[in-house]
Symmetry: C2
Subunit: 87 residues, 2 copies
């Protein structure tokens, strides 16, 4: 399945959250990552993130898709890096 | 089409960006909105946002989908409000 992850966590935990997400997904921009992921890995990612974040202050949002890809990804403003996998 | 919008803009411009996005989409969480949108409205939204943001400091990311809905949306941590349209 394909997943898009967006996190909003305290600056103290950003590096750890990003590092964990990067083990499974591609960084797109800022606090957004995406990629193909197995069900087992997705469960592991959520479990790992739940251990890192503060449930009262942070939040992580996951969109999952059966189909592998979105139709398009566009951005305006600055590009904050990340591998661009979209053709 | 269905669109997910994520913005990362200077705090000075957040209110205006959110207000503009809300005229077209539903607020999901933090700086994330989503919804069904026509091609014309999507073009209008991008045009309006491009006028508000600072292209050197802010960024807005748009994922568009032909199919109307994602398979699932999940979150961990705090729920920061927004209309929950997902069943």
């Amino acid at each position: 399945m394909f997943v898009i992850v967006m996190y909003d966590v305290h600056v103290k935990r950003v590096a750890k959250v990003l590092k964990t997400c990067r083990r499974y997904l591609y960084w797109v921009q800022n606090s957004v990552l995406e990629g193909e992921i197995s069900k087992a890995d997705f469960a592991a990612l959520k479990r790992e993130l739940a251990e890192i974040i503060s449930p009262d202050h942070d939040s992580v949002l996951f969109y999952t898709f059966r189909t592998t890809r979105y139709t398009s990804r566009e951005s305006i403003g600055i590009q904050k890096g990340g591998e661009d996998r979209f053709l």
